[in-house]
């Protein structure tokens, strides 16, 4: 039962503070502390951890443990950045009284996650300001897909498209603009309802979960080795980050660690993923203010990265590279050379693209003070990743919870407080330069040795949290293992699920024609959210 020494004071203080109302379940993997408490303590525990230890509530989910323990479990995952550790509160919910208290009024960041639990597990939310359906659309029958007695292959009646009742916005000259789910561009589906008076947006309502694919349920219906490939399909733009977060969770559950070379190669791939997505986003943001030339250069640069991805891993989106216990393909001398060559050529090319964008004052006019996400709002909503860092939310798992090879590299985390489109672009720009530097450092220190450890068997009944700072923000995978190398539960926390509520806040008061650029400056994943 080892624990990071820095977490010990927290453990002592918390157990003392709550006495016998809080039970210490176990400590795993140095930085994961599990507690158990009754539902009554949820709010008190949350408030205390936040005020005393600046802990962030990063993930809330449920688990149907009725077969094994006769109850549902709720899990509240707190990240204590300063201590590099996680405090996880487990709360039993009896099946004969399936309800749980809402934290949303105090912690707006958990709004969608709580409603997902209500939809997927049939646990009733008590005290939620808007306890309507979220993850299952209105016309879905009364099913709770993540309950163990619900069969994955259940056939449901066809979708009728029953109209969702949106919040009404009334007044002189107020009109509604519905958009989606099929959008004009080549992007994912979601529905946006604008309420506007004249040009400025008064209110924006989101309707997501159009691409819900039953992913979490699928995880429970596959051998663990196949789940790695499924994790690659949670969100295509984060294929490697999600697969690595999943592998990380399984490795922690099994109590093994990927060898140093594997962690180094993972770091290289994670940063390549960041670079190709960031450069594409910068181009796309420029497109949305009609500066297409910049986008053409950005797409060309992205293509260069994608081709190197293919050279080193066999797939342009880095698919097939991740595996339990490490990575599947080693980087031979020629591959290392290819990566080095890419970095050498990419950097000046990208620098001059940055100059082209900077030089265009018209572009800057459109970016600055557009789509402002205020730091206070970002903090209330727990906005993570690029979007959070552009609004003063200074968090990065690479620095705060060093995984992979990040503890061996030096880098800075760009943080701004303005929170506009410009700053979100600048965060990406700076992160690209940092990524190039990180990859170079890793290549210089590239350890020799194995690229994976055998991980064929995972014992049942283990739980673990895997985490990775993907390009859009922090990704968490929490797993509970079952017999026969299978999973009893896999919860996926994509940063986009956390971040979508930022968009309606940032668009307030902006004009509808600026919506595309504001939306693109966030570029949240629909598939990662809906999964």
């Amino acid at each position: 039962m080892n624990l990071l020494p820095i977490l010990q004071p927290i453990l002592n203080e918390v157990t003392q503070r709550f006495g016998n109302r809080l039970e210490l379940l176990r400590i795993s993997q140095l930085n994961e502390i599990y507690f158990e408490a009754k539902p009554e303590l949820v709010a008190g525990f949350c408030g205390h951890l936040y005020k005393r230890w600046q802990a962030r509530l990063v993930s809330v989910f449920a688990d149907d443990a009725r077969q094994d323990e006769g109850v549902f479990h709720l899990y509240y995952v707190y990240a204590v950045d300063a201590a590099h550790g996680f405090c996880i509160l487990r709360v039993p919910v009896p099946p004969d009284d399936p309800k749980f208290p809402s934290l949303t009024t105090a912690v707006p960041a958990v709004n969608w996650q709580e409603r997902e639990i209500q939809d997927w597990f049939g646990l009733k939310l008590v005290g939620h300001p808007n306890p309507r359906r979220c993850a299952l659309h209105d016309d879905w029958p009364a099913i709770h897909p993540l309950r163990k007695d619900f069969d994955l292959r259940t056939e449901l009646p066809p979708f009728t498209g029953e109209r969702h009742k949106f919040q009404e916005v009334e007044g002189d000259g107020v009109f509604q603009v519905p958009v989606g789910p099929v959008h004009a561009g080549i992007i994912e589906p979601g529905h946006f309802l604008f309420s506007a008076a004249g040009e400025p947006v008064l209110y924006l309502q989101l309707r997501m979960f159009y691409v819900h694919k039953g992913t979490e349920k699928l995880f429970e219906n596959m051998p663990i080795a196949h789940c790695v490939r499924l994790a690659e399909s949670i969100s295509g733009d984060s294929s490697f980050a999600h697969a690595t977060a999943f592998c990380h969770a399984i490795e922690r559950a099994a109590g093994v660690e990927a060898p140093p070379r594997a962690r180094a190669l993972r770091t290289i791939c994670l940063e390549l993923e960041r670079v190709y997505n960031h450069v594409a986003d910068i181009g796309a943001i420029c497109t949305d203010v009609a500066f297409v030339t910049a986008n053409m250069h950005a797409m060309r640069l992205r293509e260069r990265v994608l081709r190197v991805n293919e050279q080193i891993t066999g797939n342009r989106l880095l698919r097939g590279m991740a595996c339990l216990g490490g990575v599947r393909f080693d980087l031979e001398a020629e591959h290392i050379k290819a990566v080095q060559h890419l970095l050498t050529e990419f950097r000046p090319d990208f620098e001059s693209l940055v100059e082209v964008i900077r030089e265009s004052s018209g572009v800057r006019d459109r970016f600055e003070t557009t789509g402002v996400l205020k730091p206070q709002v970002a903090r209330d909503l727990g906005i993570v990743g690029v979007a959070g860092r552009a609004s003063g939310f200074n968090h990065d798992l690479r620095r705060d919870f060093p995984h992979a090879f990040y503890d061996q590299t030096q880098f800075t985390v760009p943080v701004f407080t303005e929170g506009d489109v410009q700053r979100r672009m600048v965060v990406r720009r700076e992160e690209i330069f940092q990524s190039i530097s990180i990859i170079q450092q890793v290549l210089e220190k590239l350890p020799s040795g194995a690229i994976n450890v055998q991980l064929d068997q995972v014992l049942p009944g283990r739980t673990a949290l895997g985490y990775v700072e993907g390009w859009p923000g922090e990704i968490f995978h929490w797993v509970r293992t079952a017999t026969g190398n299978r999973l009893a539960r896999c919860n996926i926390k994509d940063p986009s699920l956390q971040n979508w509520p930022a968009l309606p806040e940032a668009i307030l008061g902006n004009i509808i024609p600026d919506f595309p650029v504001v939306n693109k400056s966030f570029n949240f994943s629909y598939s990662g959210t809906d999964r």
Binding site: H137, I143, P145, F150, D151, L152, R153, T154, L156, P158, F159, G161, P181, V182, A184, I186, I187, E188, P189, F209, Y210, V211, K213, G214, K217, L218, M222, A225, H226, R229, L230, S233, S235, G236, D237, A280, T293, M296, H297, M299, R300, R302, E303, E310, Q311, I312, G314, N315, R316, L317, R319, G320, F329, S352, E355, V356, E359, S360, Y526, S527
Partner: protein
Amino acid sequence: MFEVLRKSLQTGVVTTSYPAGPPQVATRARGRPEIDWANWKDARPGAAVCPTGAISYEDSDGQRTARLDLGKCIFCGLCADVDKAIRMTNICECATRRRGDLVTGAQYSLKQDGMHDRLLSVPPAPLEALGQELHKRVSEILGRSLHIREVDAGSCNGCEIEIVGLTSPVYDLERFGIHFVASPRHADMLLVTGPVTRNMELALRKTYDAMPAPRLVVAVGACGCSGGIFGQNYATRGGIDSVLPVDVYIPGCPPNPHALLHGILIAIGRLPTKQQPGR
């Protein structure tokens, strides 16, 4: 302004010569898996590690029918890791007009220990014929203008990344007179990705209904062809052809821009010959 011009001039032409030249893929790239059908000894290891069921087999009466379904394959190469008779090629041009053409199979007599014994029937020749046909038609295609509407019907956005890549200067779809359009009313072709989620089925049908005839539907990616790794479950319907009539299937996870281009060009070659009532 000068910077913009200078950068463009400095960059020069970056557009691929494909389809006149070969696709530019890395040697390590994983494309279509190839099975040495004559010397394949056992379908079971490959089938066991395949996450999507692309490799499958059925045993009956001392015979085994083994199949490889490219429409389900995500080109992960795990089968090739465990079975020497399977090799990952870097061939990415796999698009076909019929779903059945993506499936190859062979029959074997079965041994006591579960291994194959003797090859009883040879699988049909792979997709070479289509490639030739494509080359024959490329010239006539070049003169034609095509408008595409893309619909994500549940994709993980991996396919979208590659489809967007088609509009980059490297692949430059517009050199074929092919454009992506914002409205289905302007479109000749529907390019659809994803395992058709329950929530997107209606939107997909409506988009299709809004298109003027004649219209083409191209299913993109393992999910679009067959449901892929998601298959059919409470939230997904499976491949695009479970909802719409599909003209061309483009396998891959995701198919790279060469493969997409290949599939789209195949689909256009078909346009003048197909005259079905009501389409």
